[in-house]
Symmetry: D2
Subunit: 378 residues, 4 copies
């Protein structure tokens, strides 16, 4: 008969002596908010049993989480609003150290002001040990691709739902693992560097980059300090991977969008021959340049690489034009561009987004690129 | 703010008008016990939201479950003893039919008399629709390989724990999907056709095959009818895949085992040159023959194929000798043998068992074999 | 005992009623010079037996050829100077049509003024039939990668030799096959768009592009009309793939080069921090622009895509800068850029060049890109 | 202008101080007859240039050969009857040792009494060096699969021709390379262990196994000593791979065959239900047993493994029954059986035979099996 483990003791998150925290944090770290997909906490423990205590809230888009034991995924599930005490393993050999990483699958939700995931602490019957540290730090900035949208779900599934997103099968996860890297992720489905897929000018990543988690806008978010200026000094990456442009491209093929607050209408136009209207393209290019300036301002030494192509190549040349202009005007040479291979027929997951196969192919190209940069060979 | 869906209505499992049940069932079907790994229930529903209500119990080996949405895995998690109401999806397009399959990852646990998983019903805001039926029926009978042991977990993980087992990444799942087959699974880690890996004569699959779920021995199991004779007429497979022999092989390399109840010691011996002691090998061969007779008694028309090799080939010839003897003595020709490829270095999962890669390779061979048999080409 | 086929009749190349010719041709087409790697002749014949009559000459770099039967490679071999009558198949079913393609593996050799391969005719006992035509026309322009250098030979082989080059395992071959395309190839190992790998300013592809085969400089070449202006109207491609830049990159890391004829020294310099010296980089960018202008002048409707990356990404941004400048100044929008994945450890062939594996990976990316362009989807 | 290398000197095969010879040889070794597919000669030389001098003859089935340079295939071509002096490489770095292996692609041709391939010597400008030796010795015995039939040619090609056969893409080659093994091959398309695919009783491999090359029957063969008893002591393998049974299976589905010399008709029959007629199956089983006895007689210590399955599994159980009977009656335990995976849709080459992909899959299974046996782990 099941008997609760009487040797479990509760340790609040602030009292955990050793832990790796993945993803940005703000002023509130206890309980620890996991703000982005991939945001997580990792501990190495002895003992037979480990639990994690979390609190979640949400509205339309419920929270999804996953965890890995010794680097291998063990569980993935939905958490509805409330307090959850989750058993991560039981009955393991007491003395052997186990490394467990618990992380958020769901992206920061700009459309759900209630959504949150707070880690309050652990329950264990062993001891915390030093957690292995990583060789590199990488920041990933992107849209639905970087949010792992479509990495779960069947090809036929076309709803826009939390459960289809994930970090567990995402190229950012694959890349970080292959390079032994700590990472931050800032991404939002449907957003661009200049505007969202639907011409909504407000949905641009640069506008939220300098906040701790500017994507979260509700009252709760404010209390957790997500609207605060992010302290970039606290975590300086070796490389920044920007995977944006896909939605800026889509916007050209969508109707105009009027921002409700201002009544101003935005519209990225096509020429009659189907090519991009040059002046509107300049909007995107200017946004790229401005974003690079912003990135460099806060990340003095990181190599910045703009990745693009997993859902079409149309903006390759405009993006590189902007990068070149940025290089020329600033003299900054520590920046690059690389195409990631477009998703082909067998590579799709759900919702017409890259599936695990496509993320695997893309990560192999990116790993090759970053390996040379980080090891200083090229 | 999260508001519970007020349109959800509860439907007890016996009132669900359309459902696929995977795995054996006994006299009690409401609540519906999911007895083996892979045992599950599948429904097709309209509506925005679907919940499943289950009850679990266990002692050492906690329950693990998973579910698929439209054929793609969505969640996998541990369930500790108690009642659980689990949300499977939310906010999907109301009218679109969705097929959801909820199943047990954990094998029937002969060592945990409390372990159980009962499906009590669903909560939904839509309607049940007819569930697509399958083309074939396949029964898989095996040991830890068929219990998917090692398909989760890191290579370094060597504990013997519930969480490492699974159906989701198991060759039986892959094979059934590829052939569009309904399936039954009867498997138990450490057991053989003649004896267990440690010479424990009681741990042989034939001894439990004729009960509904003879692996479960506690009081609760008795109440659920697991000790009852199984009604083979209720589900006649097109093919039976027997994947046994791996533990019978291991026993030869282990010390003797004394059955506590009887005080009798059992010992499969090696010759001095390291080969199997012929007389003891006969035990295995006789067990194979007897088991085939038992299988045929209950499954008159199924093609029976004995699979072997994923963890070593040493018993290939003894097993085929037994199969040939069975064929000769009975005249039964509807039987075959096939090697599944041995697990190589990169194919291991945890606990020195075949990982997902090895299961994939094995399933491709098995699929090829069964396709010809089931389509009547060979 | 072998008896020569008495029904063979000789047909001079100019009398072959149906044939596909791959690769550029000049004024002399009988005998038919195969000038570049991939240059070849394809016929569809009935009959039991087929021979091809060729004449070759060479100095240091001997000729290598290969042939395919019904799209599958059958033979590959060296041809030393002289007349060769080569049996391509024997004893096939008489009436069945067979398509045979005989082609040059060796690139046009700018360093061997004697090298040549002339097809004089065929011997057959059947009839020539219409040869299946292709859906698209693609021109590939490149360096050693496009010459297939390293696609044959062991990883340890580091000599610079004819036998390591090839079309048979080259991405241009894979891409053309996948897209059902006729192709032209103009490529030369060690050459760039601005200069060769060793700063030799003369080794730039644009300088030879407008001649039939400007890479061949000897007396024989002149007689065959290789120095003549190429008649671009005779073959207008749907797409032009330019895979240049790898040697322009290498030049920055090499010592200066003095052109013997002029005594002028050329030197692409690095800054002290290891970055490219801007002024010298401008040489490359200007060469890219000028070459694009040249390409467009002769190919009014072709989509031009610059491919780059199989041996490093360092010139990605300079090349795109040039392409963007070209677009801006000319208004030409029918042009693109794409990275091909860098060769990783397991992808190398001989001589530190991409092997078959790397060509396969690159071709998959290129095929995806071209498919969308050629089918007009993007 | 091409100038013949004046430093070349001719060395007769018997004067080559170091060489690896692959495949059986008889009393005549100078010139060296290459009797089977895979039969070849390997030398390690310094110098810039290497030629091989061979003499060939044939009737219907012309000779095909291939060669590898430093382990990587470089050329493959047809040789019509006559003397051939073939340049294998030119202009390599003089001092570097190069290992070149020249081998026969075409199986021993029982249906072409003229076919032969004799190596007379080499021409080189360097020196012969010691050739690296191999770790193991493996004998492969088989039918068209082991003759590599279908490993060249398009899926649509269905003629039975020399050019479709090969050793270069054959599982025996892949297996030997992976295990660092010297090898012998005795194989013949259409032959079985009991009878040929068409019930021709004369076409069984055991009948020719004890001759040097009993498959070659002409006058020339006799002179070369191919009909002599083979000296098994001269080369004792560590493992024998028998891949036979596929044609014995096919015979059951073919009409009777009358041997012209005797007028006796042979016919492997099916029962009305489509199963094998037991008495006729016994012919096959007896042939298996007898062949195993023959193999063991000549190879006292080799591990013998019977492989089966690449073109169907129907004889798996009869073959294992015979092996088990052999084991029982002889006490020989150094023998095994393993299924090789059946060829699936994408795995076919030409002539409905396994293509390179299928040979690759099969070799991986076989390599895994042999590695354990040869390294003594199982």
């Amino acid at each position: 008969m099941y008997k609760p483990n009487e040797n479990l003791r509760k340790v609040n998150i602030e009292d955990v002596p050793f832990k790796n925290i993945y993803g940005r944090v703000g002023k509130v770290t206890s309980p620890l908010p996991l703000l982005f997909n991939g945001s997580g906490v990792e501990v190495t423990v002895t003992g037979q049993e480990l639990w994690i205590d979390v609190e979640t809230d949400s509205d339309f888009h419920e929270m999804w989480v996953a965890y890995e034991l010794n680097g291998s995924i063990m569980g993935r599930f939905m958490l509805l609003p409330g307090e959850h005490s989750i058993c991560l393993f039981r009955n393991m050999t007491f003395d052997a150290p186990k490394t467990v990483k618990f992380y958020r699958e769901l992206q920061a939700m700009s459309e759900d002001e209630y959504v949150k995931l707070l880690v309050k602490g652990f329950k264990l019957d062993g001891e915390f040990k030093e957690v292995p540290s990583h060789k590199y730090k990488i920041e990933f900035i992107g849209d639905s691709i970087t949010s792992g949208e479509g990495t779960y779900g069947a090809y036929e599934d076309t709803d826009w739902l939390a459960m289809y997103m994930g970090f567990s099968r995402n190229y950012a996860n694959m890349t970080s693992k292959a390079l032994d890297a700590d990472y931050h992720i800032i991404s939002q489905g449907g957003w661009g560097v200049y505007c969202g897929w639907d011409n909504d000018i407000r949905h641009n990543i640069p506008s939220v980059y300098e906040k701790v988690c500017g994507l979260s806008t509700g009252e709760a978010a404010r209390e957790l300090g997500m609207m605060d200026e992010y302290d970039f000094e606290s975590w300086q990456p070796d490389a920044i991977v920007v995977n944006l442009g896909t939605n800026d491209d889509t916007a050209f093929f969508q109707p105009p969008f009027t921002v409700p607050e201002t009544g101003i209408t935005y519209f990225q136009r096509l020429n009659e021959d189907g090519s991009f209207f040059e002046e509107d393209l300049m909007n995107v290019e200017k946004a790229v340049i401005d974003f690079l300036i912003m990135l460099r301002k806060h990340n003095k030494t990181a190599h910045i690489v703009w990745c693009y192509g997993m859902l079409g190549y149309r903006l390759t040349l405009p993006i590189t034009e902007a990068i070149n202009a940025y290089k020329l005007s600033t003299g900054d040479k520590n920046i690059g561009f690389i195409n990631l291979p477009n998703t082909t027929k067998d590579g799709y997951g759900s919702h017409m987004h890259p599936g695990e196969v496509s993320h695997r192919i893309a990560s192999e190209v990116l790993i090759g690129y970053l390996k040379e940069k980080l090891e200083g060979n090229q």
